[in-house]
């Protein structure tokens, strides 16, 4: 090896024969860098791109001049769509090791394909715009930008993840699942995609990835590095780690056993508190449901007035709905449209009415669904129920969002011990929801309640 200070050739002794510095720590750092590079290479070959990024970053933290680690890190970034980081790694790699560096070929290749390069760069811009839109709850715009970004670079992992999240928030679970599966094929341990998968399929194990060792470029350029002799010291320390965990777990079990009676008592107190809280909430709920019944009674008294409206007024309402929709108020527009009495409408007006419904109702259904979910998260189940019911009014048989709303209504009914409603909702979900895990959850409820 070369002395890291004066550059003189050394034969691996304790000190540099020229400048006299201690060489062992440097050799050790290089060995650790090589070891992390080998781990990163293995992971990259197995398509664990997230793991590879972590390992390779550690490798260059120990030795920034580890050319192979830096170049491979660039390739992994490139594969995930993080083009700027990929280019940065290659540029730094060339600066640190100008001679015989494959990174120059990568950069030359990138510059050669100018059109493709522009597309990849554009995809990052679109992703950043979409992220801003999502943060401002401008989901529709975000979805459009993300779709464009993925058209330009279908392997862009973060764009796939963000689009999946948008779909999940809109109740479009099956579209989200497709994206999650795409990401997990590309990066088998992608944290975000796995977390979405686990939330969608809590009882199902993730798809088993096939081992991926098909990139001939990797195997040609990237061979495992030899770990130097001095790293044996670190190998010797390895058996200590399982022993440490064994000791840690045993101590935890003993401490747990000693603390068990106090824990039981605390749990009992917590349970009592929850029961009194439940009684209080039940009382509030009864009051609110009385109020709800009163308002729905007065609403049903108002409805006949609609029927009595003149034909001209009813046609005017279609225009009102259109104006509301163009002012970004799809939900109110939808409520007007679903309540219009179409008796005596001419075929032209019926056509206009149908077009409006086709345009506005799906969007309103999504917005009602999202608001319903937000209210559920705020534990306001009554408002959530109203919103999900409005969502149902905007859906047709076969729409995924219809069964997602029914699923939420079923869950609310089950939590309120309204077995009848829960069963009715879950029966429809179990039969029609396109996502198997949701279907299974509904089926499980029905089985538990002997349906």
């Amino acid at each position: 090896m070369k002395c890291p200070k004066c550059g003189a050739k050394t034969s691996g002794g304790e000190r540099c024969p020229e400048c006299g510095i201690r060489l062992r720590p440097y050799i050790h750092a290089q060995a650790l860098s090589a070891r992390w590079y080998n781990i990163g290479l293995e992971m990259a070959n197995d398509r664990d791109l997230s793991g590879a990024v972590n390992a390779l970053r550690k490798s260059i933290a120990f030795n920034k001049s580890n050319k192979n680690a830096r170049n491979l890190l660039g390739l992994v970034y490139f594969e995930t769509g993080d083009i700027a980081n990929a280019l940065m790694q290659w540029v730094l790699s060339i600066n640190l090791n100008p001679e015989k560096n494959p990174a120059s070929e990568y950069l030359a290749e990138y510059e050669k394909n100018g059109r493709q390069a522009t597309q990849l760069e554009q995809s990052i811009k679109l992703y950043n715009e979409a992220l801003e839109d999502v943060r401002e709850r401008n989901d529709d715009m975000a979805i459009i930008s993300l779709k464009k970004a993925l058209n330009l670079n279908p392997r862009f992992i973060e764009a796939n993840n963000l689009l999946a999240l948008c779909y999940l928030m809109h109740g479009k679970n099956s579209q989200a699942v497709d994206l999650i599966n795409t990401v997990l094929k590309q990066d088998i341990n992608n944290e975000k995609a796995l977390s979405y998968y686990r939330q969608l399929y809590p009882d199902k194990s993730r798809p088993v990835p096939k081992s991926y060792r098909s990139d001939p470029r990797n195997s040609a350029y990237y061979m495992p590095q030899t770990v130097s002799r001095s790293s044996r010291n670190t190998q010797r320390t390895q058996p200590v780690i399982p022993m440490f965990f064994f000791g840690f777990i045993s101590s935890a079990v003993i401490v747990g056993l000693l603390a068990l009676p106090q824990l039981m008592e605390a749990k009992q107190q917590e349970l009592d508190m929850q029961v009194s809280k439940y009684n209080q909430l039940k009382h509030e709920f009864d009051e609110l449901s009385n109020k709800y019944n009163e308002s729905s009674a007065s609403l049903s008294q108002e409805q006949p007035a609609q029927a009595d409206m003149s034909l001209q007024d009813r046609v005017k309402q279609i225009n009102t709905a259109e104006t509301l929709y163009s002012n970004d108020n799809a939900t109110e527009a939808a409520m007007i449209l679903v309540n219009i009495d179409t008796t005596d409408f001419s075929p032209e007006i019926m056509e206009q009415y149908a077009k409006q419904k086709q345009l506005i109702l799906p969007l309103a259904a999504e917005q009602f669904y999202i608001s319903g979910r937000q209210q559920m998260e705020n534990s306001d189940n009554d408002t959530a129920k109203t919103l999900f019911n409005q969502c149902l009014k905007c859906c047709q048989e076969g729409d995924e969002i219809r069964y997602s709303a029914l699923f939420q209504l079923g869950k609310i009914a089950a939590s309120e011990n309204d077995e009848q409603t829960a069963k009715e909702c879950f029966a429809q979900v179990a039969q029609n929801h396109p996502v198997q895990s949701v279907k299974n959850e509904a089926k499980r409820y029905l089985e538990e309640h002997n349906v």
Binding site: P4, K5, I21, R22, P25, Y26, A29, Q30, L32, S33, I60, A61, F62, N63, K64, S65, D82, I83, A84, N85, L87, M88, V91, L92, L96, E121, I124, K125, Y127, N128, L131, E132, V134, R135, E158, N161, L162, L165, L168, M169, K192, Q199, E377
Partner: protein
């Protein structure tokens, strides 16, 4: 099921290729080898001072 805000906060804006030059210039690359070199130099300085005092 999903806490939208929490999930969105996990996403970070990506460096655009146009900003790459600044990013590279800002990036003061240091590794363990650099740290060793720095500590080694410091050690030498203190050793020299000690020798002078003696």
């Amino acid at each position: 099921m999903f806490d939208f805000k929490k999930e969105v906060n996990k996403f970070r804006p990506m460096t655009e290729v146009g900003d790459l030059e600044n990013t590279i210039l800002d990036n003061e690359v240091q590794d363990v080898m650099d740290l060793l070199r720095i500590t080694n130099n410091e050690q030498k300085k203190t050793d020299k001072k000690k020798d002078k005092k003696e």
